[in-house]
């Protein structure tokens, strides 16, 4: 029986280290990801995106809070049980592809099925088909060293998908690709979410893929929230905080500007613009 929301995080917190050196990488995050949904998580560097994804993938145990996979509480599961869960239910896609260098594209995909407990000819055929679907029919027997970055990433997607997991987690899948290949990769992930009813989370800095996401969330200082639209309070232009060249804090609120001119006008008399807003 498959639940509607394969992945749910409840009050998940991760603290690294202790004492004076304690770093709270993720703080009280609640999140529900539904089938068919592509969720994009954005945020500045060091905000805890990777940590969050690692916990969602059951590779790291939260300091507090609960990760539910298909409605099952993973908190009290043993490492072995978590391994089993990952074998079948979670597919990973990484920034640096992480293919096994001694294996061909097809073997890389097949290993994923082997780990899920499946062997034999049917497995090979399924792996081949999975690569074909991603346009890699001619590259099946190539080792990763002979593949381009985009091809490697598609192999890794095939590897993540072939076992038909409910959840696909991708950390910066486009970071090592040029913008066209990067977009293609996200389109593939989007098609997977929509077409095959998977819960897909993509973590990325890449704003060009925002429009492909069903939902975008913003993680900052370990806290996750719905992505706010920031506007330049002077000219009203939509500003992407991660790329804003100008910002200033007034009464504890950070404002972003399109250019120096707007910032200067705001600084002269903030209230004039805030009242108007």
């Amino acid at each position: 029986m498959k639940s509607d929301a394969p992945l749910e995080l409840r009050k998940v917190t991760k603290v690294f280290g202790g004492g004076n050196n304690a770093v709270t990488a993720v703080k009280d995050v609640d999140l529900l990801v539904k089938r068919g949904e592509l969720l994009l998580i954005m945020g500045p560097s060091g905000s805890g995106k990777t940590t969050l994804l690692t916990m969602a993938g059951c590779l790291l145990r939260p300091t507090s809070g609960t990760v539910l996979i298909d409605g099952m509480d993973t908190t009290r599961m043993s490492d072995r049980e978590l391994s089993k869960l990952r074998q079948r239910s979670i597919g990973f896609v990484f920034q640096s592809f992480n293919l096994l260098s001694a294996l061909t594209a097809q073997q890389n995909v097949e290993v994923s099925l082997n780990l899920a407990g499946r062997n034999g000819l049917a497995c090979q055929e399924e792996s081949a088909r999975s690569l074909d679907n991603l346009g890699l029919a001619a590259r099946r027997h190539f080792r990763p060293e002979k593949l381009s970055g985009g091809e490697k990433q598609r192999v890794s997607i095939a590897r993540a998908l072939v076992k038909d997991p409910d959840i696909v987690l991708a950390d910066e899948p486009t970071a090592n690709l040029d913008s066209r290949r990067g977009r293609e990769i996200v389109e593939v992930l989007k098609a997977i979410a929509g077409g095959r009813g998977k819960a897909v989370i993509v973590v990325s800095h890449d704003h060009r893929i925002r429009e492909l996401a069903d939902r975008v969330m913003w993680l900052e200082d370990g806290r996750l929230e719905e992505m706010k639209v920031h506007r330049d309070p002077v000219c009203g232009m939509e500003i992407d905080p991660a790329r804003a060249s100008r910002s200033l804090t007034h009464n504890g609120v950070t404002y972003y500007f399109c250019a120096e001119g707007c910032q200067r006008l705001f600084a002269e008399d903030p209230n004039r613009f805030l009242k108007a807003g």
């Binding site: 089993k84 920034q95 096994l100 001694a102 994923s112 780990l115």
Partner: protein, 369 residues
């Protein structure tokens, strides 16, 4: 199922070559040592077994043929011959002595033997005659080939010129070999008139052997009778006592070299692939699955190394045997099986550290670049 171990192993041919070469070298070293040991043991006991006696009698309180000097008077033989069941008691005269070939001194174990008795002669003849008469000598093939001795040639034995009438085989004892002279010559040259070092007994029927041994021991003062098997064992004991400890040390070193080479290469391979092992863990592989990959890599390297090492051993044994008859390398199938087990053991020992490193690989590293 994709065989990750095999692909990993063969993807890096240079490293595979080093691990296989390391095991092969260790196997070669161990096989040659075991082979030499077995060769020596065999050579030492071969003569005792083929001397034709059912029972060997030594002086009470002495040990083997090579290290202790057993002397018994002729009267001992007379007493023995009167015992029931004894068919024949032939004196054995023998000790090491120098042969002079040209200007060269060569050590040999000189045996005085009477071909009419049929006891105590060469294991087998390579050429010439086994019937050695006074003034004649039979030398072993190993002595003949390394000193270029031919039939009809004269060699000096304890100052007396003797004509080589036969070349025997099976008497190579590494350090020296057996040479045979007529019993009369031996009595004279070895100063053993009226004395014998051992008596070689034939019994009337095999079932009487134990009774004969018992009655010699009980009734003949100063005589100690042993079955041919026991006496062979006593002589083999001398190899065990002197060479076995040295051989064991060398085998241990060989084992260590093998473990170190596979260990280091497998360790390096595991460390280099630790990220990939992390990926496998992330994908749901358990530690057990990863152990198997590493163990299999080590095992395959060990098996290939064993095969290569065994082939090298055959080549080296053949070449060394031809180059110098001193090298009698004889390997029984059981010894080869034992060495293969040692190679497997090497790979298991070598995997210990890398396998332990696998446990510590955190799958969360896969998200860090």
């Amino acid at each position: 199922m994709v065989n990750i171990a095999r692909h990993n192993l063969f993807a890096d041919k240079g490293r595979l070559f080093i691990s296989v070469g390391g095991v092969a070298f260790a196997v070669l070293l161990i096989s040659i040592l075991v082979g030499l040991y077995q060769g020596w043991s065999r050579a030492v006991t071969l003569y005792v077994h083929s001397a034709g006696a059912d029972v060997w009698v030594r002086q009470y309180g002495t040990a083997d043929m090579f290290h202790s000097t057993s002397f018994m008077p002729a009267s001992t033989a007379d007493r023995i011959r009167q015992l029931p069941g004894v068919k024949q008691a032939t004196p054995f005269l023998g000790r090491t002595a120098n042969l002079t070939v040209g200007t060269k001194q060569v050590m040999a174990y000189l045996v005085g033997y009477d071909s009419n008795d049929g006891l105590g002669g060469p294991v087998r003849m390579s050429s010439g005659s086994a019937a050695v008469r006074p003034g004649e000598v039979i030398v072993d093939r190993s002595l003949a080939s390394s000193n270029d001795v031919k039939l009809g040639q004269t060699v000096q034995v304890l100052g007396k010129p003797l004509k080589v009438v036969g070349i025997s085989d099976g008497g190579n004892m590494m350090i020296y070999s057996f040479a045979f002279i007529a019993r009369e010559d031996a009595e004279d040259l070895l100063r053993l008139k009226g004395v014998a070092n051992f008596y070689l007994l034939k019994v009337e029927s095999p079932p009487q052997r134990n009774d004969v041994i018992q009655s010699v021991n009980l009734q003949v003062a100063g005589a100690d009778a042993l079955s041919v098997e026991d006496f062979a064992e006593v002589n083999r004991g001398f190899i065990d006592g002197t060479f076995l400890p040295i051989i064991m040390v060398l085998i241990f070193i060989g084992f260590g070299v093998g473990v170190a080479v596979i260990g280091l290469t497998i360790y390096a391979a595991t460390m280099e692939k630790s990220r990939e092992f992390g990926v496998l863990k992330a994908m749901g592989a358990t530690n057990g699955m990863l152990y198997r990959v590493v163990l299999q890599q080590a095992l395959v390297a060990a098996v290939l190394g064993y095969v290569l090492g065994a082939l090298l051993t055959i080549a080296v044994a053949a070449t060394a045997g031809r180059a110098s008859p001193m090298f009698v390398i004889s390997l029984t199938p059981a010894a080869m099986a034992g060495i293969s087990a040692v190679a497997i053991l090497m790979s298991l020992a070598a995997s210990f550290v890398p396998v332990n490193r696998l446990v510590r690989i955190d799958p969360a590293i896969v998200f860090r670049s």
